[in-house]
């Protein structure tokens, strides 16, 4: 095994075997382009009746390390912190939802950017596979989705995933609006340590809004530079997750998550609002999302300008605390 690891990517898995296999393949050196074997994937699974096969994971090209845990609670936070303790790289990737596949150059760009920026916070925009967001989809979606993926032959060219996707709710208006969260983000290991890792008080099902909390916490570190990869994506596969399946009490759950999150942010959580730096190639399949982002962004900027409000208010807060925005 290659011991010179620059990047450690954490993937948390629970009851999503078929989806996780796709996600892990999308992290393999067979799929990720232009990378050497200088990264590792830390797969941490909480025990269920649908565990992954360790043999399958070990057969994937690349540095995969698999851990199976008994988790008494309903939150992935302990698994996330356990995974963090295993990481050997100086750079960290977080995929708290193991059902999210990546496009082929995410890791290449993350590794490139960490050479040029001391404190990059790299954001891969989120998508849902299919024409509609998964909270509106019916449970039969899981089966049809796997057929659609097979027909796309996505393993041959992961950018085809853009052709069968829509924006995730976390960034439904694109990347010139503040993102609520990021399901595939990269930061320095030091940065994650400085925010205390994943806060164990997020103990609701699925971790509640832990992902939103982590994203804002990292983003509000003044030295972190927010960088968005508009030509890349993380693609959610339908798997009956806590917030991505239609259910009678979904709104109640979301309200509970929101209330818990607000408690950490003075009673009023707001999405991180820092100016993004864009980086990367934007292929033709991703252009419609760039166009949508531009349309929504222009409306937002026009509204804010008319109201006399700044476009990225958290930049001012961060400047007051420490270093400036530009590299």
């Amino acid at each position: 095994m290659n011991t010179h690891i620059e990047l450690s990517i954490i993937v948390i898995v629970y009851k999503m075997r078929r989806q996780a296999y796709n996600t892990l393949y999308s992290l393999s050196t067979a799929y990720q382009r232009n990378t050497a074997a200088n990264y590792e994937v830390i797969v941490v699974e909480n025990h269920s009746d649908e565990n992954l096969s360790a043999d399958y994971i070990n057969s994937l090209p690349g540095n995969f390390r698999y851990f199976l845990r008994d988790e008494p609670g309903v939150s992935p936070v302990p698994a996330l912190n356990f995974a963090f303790a295993q990481c050997r790289g100086t750079m960290l990737g977080l995929l708290i939802d193991g059902a999210r596949m990546l496009s082929p150059r995410v890791l290449e760009h993350a590794l490139t950017l960490q050479r040029a920026f001391d404190h990059p916070l790299i954001v891969v925009p989120g998508y849902h596979l299919g024409a509609e967001q998964h909270d509106a989809a019916n449970p039969a979606r899981a089966a049809t989705e796997q057929e659609e993926l097979a027909s796309l032959n996505w393993r041959e060219d992961g950018y085809r995933l853009f052709t069968q996707a829509c924006f995730s709710p976390g960034n439904s208006r694109g990347y010139f609006h503040p993102l609520m969260e990021c399901n595939a983000l990269f930061c320095t290991k030091k940065s994650f340590s400085e925010i205390g890792g994943a806060d164990p008080r997020f103990d609701l099902a699925g971790g509640g809004s832990i992902n939103l909390h982590i994203y804002r916490s990292l983003g509000m570190q003044p030295s972190n530079r927010l960088i968005v990869l508009p030509g890349e994506g993380n693609f959610h596969q339908y798997h009956g997750g806590v917030t991505t399946q239609a259910s009678d009490n979904r709104q109640d759950k979301l309200q509970a998550f929101r209330a818990q999150l607000n408690n950490f942010w003075g009673g009023q959580y707001k999405a991180l609002s820092r100016e993004p730096l864009l980086f990367g190639n934007v292929g033709y399949s991703a252009q419609r999302f760039l166009q949508q982002s531009c349309n929504a962004g222009m409306e937002r900027f026009a509204r804010l300008s008319a109201e006399g409000k700044p476009a990225w208010p958290d930049d001012d807060a961060c400047r007051q605390e420490g270093s400036g925005q530009r590299s």
């Binding site: 050479r115 100016e275 730096l277 190639n281 252009q287």
Partner: protein, 375 residues
């Protein structure tokens, strides 16, 4: 024949039928002369540039490298000829007072002026904040190519940027991002997209009366230089990237290459002796981008903005302009054996996008989707 012409002919035939047999039919009204814009006219000239709708297939790769042993420094060569007012603004836009996130240690500006009866002069450069050097040359040919290579020979930096037209003001992040791109890749060719001040290309707007006074009013309307990104509000895309930057662009009027690349290419080709250098800037851009080891980086949120000044391609009109462009294309064709075609290498994009520039990103995205029938 136009629709109006057809209607008139039809109306004429009806009228003739109503008139007595021995009456003289009225002469049909002449059809209106077709309107051809100056931009359309030049596209039909021999060796007119050929543009493509898509980048080449291979995805761009930034080569991995260890951290640079020596600090990076940009040497910006700016060529000035008969444009004192415009050059002052351009050079101020390159000052440490205007450029953000950089210091005088990060770059130098080498101003090379070819002598004329409208000198900028050394005193105008002396007090600009930053690291400026000025050279005055006696140039006997109507081309800037010798001045460019002279300026590059004075460069102390690790990278050489060329602004062949000193009438091009820049946005405040150009140098910062050039340095950023150089950190990302040791072989980056970093290009700043081009714009014209005014809401139409200047070769068109000058026909409608656009002039220096109108331009001064535009700049005053955004209180330039208070916020250099407001230049996007009073501009339009240059002809070289009129379809945006998500397909091959014709050239960049402010771009930087590693010094080693500049030397490897032998500088700007001194055979380009037509007025203004003809297509020498396009030629160097293409040769640099097409080197297998280079990587094209386009700074999405930055721009160079052309000021009106009676230049060769933007200040000439009518048949004079067509003749000029024909000579440029012919010289390129003679030197390279074919019409100019922009390099098809895919770009990596880098930059934060000011709100004022977002419309250009959208335009580029929409255009490339339409051209390639993407949904």
């Amino acid at each position: 024949m136009s629709i109006i012409g057809k209607l008139r002919r039809f109306a004429g035939s009806i009228k003739r039928a109503l008139v007595a047999d021995d009456a003289q039919p009225p002469a049909p009204a002449p059809a209106p002369a077709p309107t051809v814009s100056p931009l359309q006219a030049v596209t039909k000239l021999p060796f007119a540039p050929q543009y493509s709708t898509r980048f080449d297939s291979p995805m761009p790769v930034l080569p991995h490298t260890a951290n640079a042993a020596a600090p990076l420094k940009i040497s910006i060569v700016v060529i000035v000829y008969k444009m004192p007012e415009q050059a002052r603004k351009t050079l101020y836009s390159l000052s440490t007072e205007y450029q953000q996130g950089v210091s005088a240690d990060d770059y130098e500006v080498i101003v090379v002026e070819n002598k004329s009866d409208q000198l900028l002069g050394e005193p105008a450069v002396r007090d600009i904040p930053g690291n400026f050097r000025y050279f005055l040359r006696d140039e006997t040919q109507p081309t800037p190519v010798f001045a460019i290579n002279f300026g590059a020979a004075q460069a102390c930096g690790t990278h050489i940027a060329v602004i062949i037209d000193g009438a091009r003001m820049c946005t405040p992040g150009v140098i910062n991002y050039m340095l950023g791109a150089a950190k990302l890749s040791p072989s980056a060719v970093t290009a700043v997209p081009g714009y014209h001040l005014g809401h139409e290309l200047q070769q068109v707007s000058i026909l409608k009366g656009y002039n220096e006074a109108a331009e001064a009013e535009l700049l005053a309307s955004i209180q330039w230089p208070a916020d250099g990104y407001r230049l996007f509000d009073i501009a339009c895309l240059s002809g070289s990237c009129s379809s945006g930057f998500f397909k091959p662009i014709g050239e960049s009027n402010c771009f930087v290459v590693p010094k080693a690349v500049f030397e490897q290419l032998g500088g700007f080709d001194e055979n380009f002796t037509e007025t203004g250098g003809g297509q020498v800037n396009l030629d160097f851009y293409k040769r640099a981008v097409e080197l297998p080891e280079t990587q094209l980086v386009i700074l999405l949120g930055e721009g160079s903005f052309h000021q009106i000044h009676g230049g060769v391609t933007t200040g000439t009109k009518g048949s004079h302009r067509e003749e000029t462009m024909a000579a440029h294309f012919a010289q390129y064709g003679k030197l390279r054996g074919e019409a100019y075609r922009p390099p098809g290498k895919r770009a990596i994009y880098l930059g934060a996008i000011p709100d004022s520039a977002l419309k250009y990103i959208r335009h580029g995205s929409t255009t490339v989707m339409m051209m390639n029938d993407l949904k």
